[in-house]
């Protein structure tokens, strides 16, 4: 049963988050036919969950005075622990102010500079009257200036709604509840994808001159993550499955300091940016002891490690979900909390029964962001296959290196969307639309064969629920914030076993007909394990500490041997990823001291 319909288009964008939609808009504005695929209606994409804001060096706020792209550049490179591509970072910081204003033009109701005095950490802030009404900015971690533009605490929501309004205005076709599962390629060029409808389970073929992957992050490989539950890496796994596309720096996983215990829903960095403090079990504010200069607002990797270090020293608050610390925003006052931190106070009230105006919020570092992903060049073109691009969190464009700054990811989606979107449009001008029908058939057959095998195994196969749980716990326990060779070795062997078992996944419930959710999940499992293995193996081999990758057995950054990027390939039939390395582009700022973290601050 291999029936399927074929849709052709100039540009096929897989993913309807901010990155995918911005690129789609650029391609459509250039006159190309564009189709977007998404697991869910576009406005439900995880971009909408971003609360804090996006960085752009407008310098309107009094505390951002004198900001410019050079300062933003330096913060970004330091934040990345010199792991980022500096030519990419330079383009990014120059474009971010344009992108934030373009989003204002499209309707984002950015919070504006107010004609009001305000106390912050004991100092009075007085705004420049000339700047009142321009786009405001708040403080975020690891930044020398207040640079994070925001809409109360709904930045991602308002950005995505504005972006999607332009997609609707331009009449761009969106097929939602449509999951891309297999790239159609011949080892040299990509021709489109095989997708499966989540409404009725039918297969669909999309053929395009240019294919774009913008499927977001894959935090759900971990047991505790702030990510949406759909963030399981399907698009990234699809690229890896080609055998010829490498993933960059998969070991670079960000843990956010303040996931709320025990739902692991994010409490935005904006809460600390607005002046929130971290307290231990004795109500003591401990961050200034470790990071005298940046305190709660050092980079995320550093604050997360400091919290865990403090908990290990016995100062954590015990709970049934493990020890945690407190986030205290009470001193900001009811008005500020209910106006600019409104969504998170609702979240604290709803999910933890806590009123943050009067009570402390229980928090612990939680998986949050994936710096790694599908490796592209600075135009967003994917390594290894022609006619294929990637951007946003699913890509390793490499703006973030080993640690992303808060607010740089929303900014990346719309900035990369502008830059890469233009490149996609140009590239598509010269591309053709020809594909051999047996190549399509070959890939469709591959997908159907996998589905048939899962159905045939039925209850005699493995249960995807058990394997997924074991995978998530393995990454959580062995590939977390503090890493050692021993634990990483254990993770690699454990995940390899799980990968073998995943080859025999079956169905415990119905027959996998139509849109049976169990078949959907079972199909995703092997790809998720491949990604988990690229993370664990990359971390095992990287014998140094850089940004979020912290090896207790190699606690120092080692520029002599490790100033390089991991590239993970998965050749056809292999049992483990193959690792290669490439050099990092350094154009302006040679490796140096970050000014925060273990090598700078107090031990």
């Amino acid at each position: 049963m291999n029936s399927y319909d074929i849709t052709t288009t100039d540009v096929l964008v897989v993913g309807a988050g901010l990155a995918g939609e911005r690129a789609a808009v650029a391609a459509a504005e250039a006159g190309h036919n564009v189709i977007i695929l998404s697991l869910i209606p576009p406005r439900r994409s995880h971009s909408s969950a971003a609360q804090g804001g996006m960085q752009a060096s407008l310098g309107n706020a009094a505390m951002g005075k004198g900001d410019n792209p050079d300062v933003h550049m330096y913060d970004t490179v330091k934040g990345s622990d010199w792991g980022c591509e500096q030519d990419v970072a330079r383009m990014f910081v120059e474009t971010a102010p344009i992108a934030v204003r373009e989003m204002a033009h499209w309707g984002v109701p950015w919070s504006r500079v107010r004609n009001e005095k305000r106390m912050y950490e004991g100092t009075e802030i007085v705004e420049d009257p000339e700047k009142v009404g321009l786009i405001n900015a708040r403080n975020f971690g690891g930044t020398a200036k207040w640079r994070t533009c925001y809409t109360s605490d709904g930045a991602g929501h308002t950005l995505l709604y504005a972006m999607d309004s332009i997609v609707i205005k331009l009449g761009i076709t969106v097929h939602d509840r449509m999951e891309a599962i297999e790239l159609i390629h011949d080892g040299e060029r990509c021709y489109g994808v095989v997708a499966r409808s989540l409404r009725d389970g039918e297969l669909h073929v999309y053929i395009a001159k240019t294919t774009v992957i913008a499927t977001g992050g894959f935090g759900r490989l971990y047991a505790a993550s702030t990510n949406a539950i759909i963030n399981d890496g399907g698009g990234v796994a699809m690229a890896l499955n080609s055998g010829v596309v490498p993933l960059g720096n998969m070991e670079a996983i960000q843990f956010h300091p303040t996931g709320m215990v025990p739902s692991w829903i994010l409490i935005t960095e904006g809460a600390r940016g607005e002046g929130g403090h971290l307290l231990d079990k004795d109500g003591y504010r401990f961050m200034p002891d470790y990071e005298p200069k940046y305190k709660e607002l050092a980079s995320r990797d550093v604050v997360s490690r400091r919290i865990m270090q403090h908990i290990r020293a016995g100062h954590g608050v015990e709970s049934p979900y493990g020890p945690h610390v407190w986030l205290d925003i009470r001193h900001l006052g009811e008005h500020r909390i209910n106006t600019y931190l409104r969504e998170i106070s609702t979240i604290a009230r709803t999910f933890a029964g806590i009123d943050p105006v009067k009570e402390l919020i229980p928090v612990r570092p939680t998986q949050h962001y994936t710096m790694g992903g599908i490796r592209t060049n600075k135009d967003g073109k994917v390594y290894g296959l022609d006619n294929l691009f990637s951007l946003g969190e699913s890509a390793c464009w490499d703006l973030h290196g080993f640690n992303r700054l808060g607010g740089n990811s929303l900014a990346e989606t719309v900035v990369a969307g502008r830059i890469v979107g233009k490149k996609i449009a140009e590239y598509t001008n010269d591309a053709t639309l020809e594909v051999k029908s047996n190549l399509i058939q070959e890939h469709v057959n591959k997908v159907s064969a996998r589905m048939d095998a899962i159905r045939a195994r039925g209850k005699n196969g493995e249960n995807w629920v058990d394997i997924r749980k074991e995978m998530q716990m393995t990454l959580e326990l062995d590939v977390g914030i503090f890493r050692t060779g021993e634990h990483l070795q254990h993770a690699v062997s454990k995940l390899s076993d799980l990968y073998e078992r995943a080859q025999n996944v079956g169905l415990m419930g119905g027959g996998g007909q139509g849109a049976d959710p169990e078949l959907v999940n079972a199909m995703r499992l092997p790809g998720m394990l491949k990604l988990a293995l690229t993370i664990a193996r990359g971390a095992l081999e990287r014998k140094e500490s850089r940004g979020s990758h912290f090896r207790e057995d190699y606690p120092k950054r080692d520029d002599e041997n490790w100033l390089k990027r991991t590239l993970a390939y998965w050749p056809e039939g292999a049992k483990l990823p193959e690792l290669k390395y490439e050099s990092i582009t350094i154009t302006e700022i040679p490796p140096g001291d970050r000014g925060y973290g273990e090598s700078s601050g107090k031990k």
Partner: protein, 243 residues
């Protein structure tokens, strides 16, 4: 104290297999501390029936995916705690939307159509100038726009609306709120009469019978009552000017 046992009565129907008639199925699970319906439904699916269909994305009351009727009341399943419910819990899909299966409904298509028909984008002749500073806006106005823009398209207000359930093209309180969001925004250059074309009819504000079921049902507290009144006033005036 031993935990309560929760009994779920869940609507089941798959439009792909119409020979199996709509029915409710019962599942029992032990309650856990701080359990939400997101946790409970996944537990049921993971442990008892892997074919059960429902939609969650953010599980944090942000994305609007999980609207359903919970003991007859429309709300977001992910933000509903079982401790606030009796031990018998009945779950039905939101009415007024196309049913995809069990608790899953097609809100996405409905909202896209509403956005197209209300022309939910900034209408302007201005061309974006990369080199120019942004236009100024008062922060209180941006907060007011954000207040209307906080709608997460969950569909709860549509599911409970008598008009929306009998009139498929009615844009609902969410649609009227959407129009008010653009009316408030000085960047949108549409005039009164252009807005009238969009909402000044029975599929828009004049279809609303004003019983305010919508206002009570919005899980994130968009002030629908006020927004409906604002649009009604503006459109009454616009209608007057037409004559």
């Amino acid at each position: 104290m031993s935990p309560r046992e929760l009994t779920f009565h869940i609507f089941r129907y798959d439009p792909e297999t119409p020979e199996v008639k709509p029915h409710t199925q019962t599942f029992k699970i032990p309650e856990e501390p701080a359990m939400t319906l997101f946790v409970a439904l996944n537990k049921i699916r993971d442990e008892q029936d892997p074919t059960l269909k429902f939609d969650f994305v953010c599980r944090a009351s942000i994305c609007g995916s999980c609207g359903m009727l919970i003991n007859g009341k429309a709300s977001l399943a992910c933000k509903t705690l079982t401790k606030d419910l009796p031990s018998d819990i009945t779950l039905f899909p939101l009415p007024a939307f196309k049913l995809l299966g069990d608790l899953s409904v097609d809100t996405g298509t409905w909202f896209r159509d509403m956005s197209v028909r209300t022309e939910s984008w900034i209408h302007t002749d201005k061309v974006f100038d990369e080199t120019a500073q942004e236009e100024k806006m008062d922060d209180d106005l941006s907060l007011e726009i954000y207040e209307a823009e906080r709608c997460i398209e969950c569909g709860c207000c549509v599911g409970v609306c008598a008009t929306a359930n009998i009139r498929p093209n009615f844009i609902g309180a969410t649609g009227i709120n959407r129009v008010s969001r653009f009316m408030l925004d000085p960047r949108d250059k549409r005039d009164e009469q252009e807005y009238f074309e969009v909402v000044g009819n029975d599929d828009g504000i004049f279809g609303c019978v004003g019983l305010m079921a919508c206002d009570d049902s919005c899980p994130i507290g968009v002030p629908l009552r006020g927004q409906l009144a604002y649009v009604r006033r503006k459109m009454a005036v616009a209608g007057w000017h037409r004559k």
